[in-house]
């Protein structure tokens, strides 16, 4: 009965490869996100989707492309992986915008991406 689930949990790949991370939420939330957490634990938003529509698109390389087939899913596709992409990627969801009162973010358990 995991609320926000993302797969895979670990992803090890070589530079130049293309990979995807999948995320699903069963909370009925309208908004989903991708966050990147670096080695110093800093969390930075990458994308936000509300009802399948892109709301926030922070300054990330266009090698990163989110796709939301429906409001319960938000996948992250990464092209031409680079060493600097190594990080933990978190999917999250919220009923309204995550910075809204009574609309806390619910996070998945992360995908640790290692690019060699």
């Amino acid at each position: 009965d995991t609320a926000v689930s993302q797969t895979p949990k670990y992803l090890v790949t070589q530079m130049g490869n293309d990979k995807s991370i999948k995320c699903e939420q069963n909370l009925g939330h309208d908004t989903m996100y991708w966050y990147k957490q670096d080695s110093k634990k800093f969390l930075k938003i990458m994308f936000s989707y509300n009802n399948k529509e892109l709301i926030i698109n922070e300054t990330v390389p266009n090698r990163f492309s989110p796709k939301s087939p429906d409001k319960a899913h938000l996948n992250l596709h990464i092209n031409s992986l680079e060493l600097g992409d190594s990080a933990v990627y978190f999917c999250a969801s919220s009923q309204d915008h995550g910075g809204s009162y009574n609309s806390p973010l619910h996070f998945g358990n992360g995908t640790r991406l290692t690019v060699t």
């Binding site: 634990k41 969390l43 936000s48 309204d96 910075g99 009162y101 973010l105 358990n109 992360g110």
Partner: protein, 113 residues
């Protein structure tokens, strides 16, 4: 630039003692603040929040204090337990910008036996 930062990157406390984790923010327009707890290998979990029209809010064993004058908030954990060991993040948001949540850099809390 705008930021939400923490005073201490690590904090060690004895089991049973109270813990205080501090956070500073720089934007006076910030009007909503949240504390998250991240255990090893897991995603952040919501602990408690506070709106800017309040100075204090209490939950179960946790209290958040907000001082808007000096742009500072703190998380107090009473009778700290081993299960409280985690990284704690403060986050803030404000009107506009799709109410985007901005996270601070985190404090690692270690509870000593």
């Amino acid at each position: 630039g705008e930021s939400v930062g923490l005073h201490l990157p690590t904090l060690s406390v004895q089991e049973g003692d109270n813990s205080i984790i501090n956070c500073a923010y720089s934007n006076s327009a910030s009007d909503y603040f949240i504390w998250y707890k991240q255990e090893s290998g897991k995603g952040p979990q919501f602990i408690i929040d506070i709106r800017s029209n309040m100075d204090k809010r209490q939950g179960q064993r946790v209290t958040v204090l907000l001082n808007k004058t000096v742009k500072h908030l703190s998380l107090q954990i009473a009778a700290t337990q081993p299960g409280d060991s985690a990284v704690y993040f403060c986050a803030e948001s404000r009107e506009g910008s799709a109410r985007q949540l901005t996270f601070g850099s985190g404090t690692q809390l270690t509870v000593l036996p």
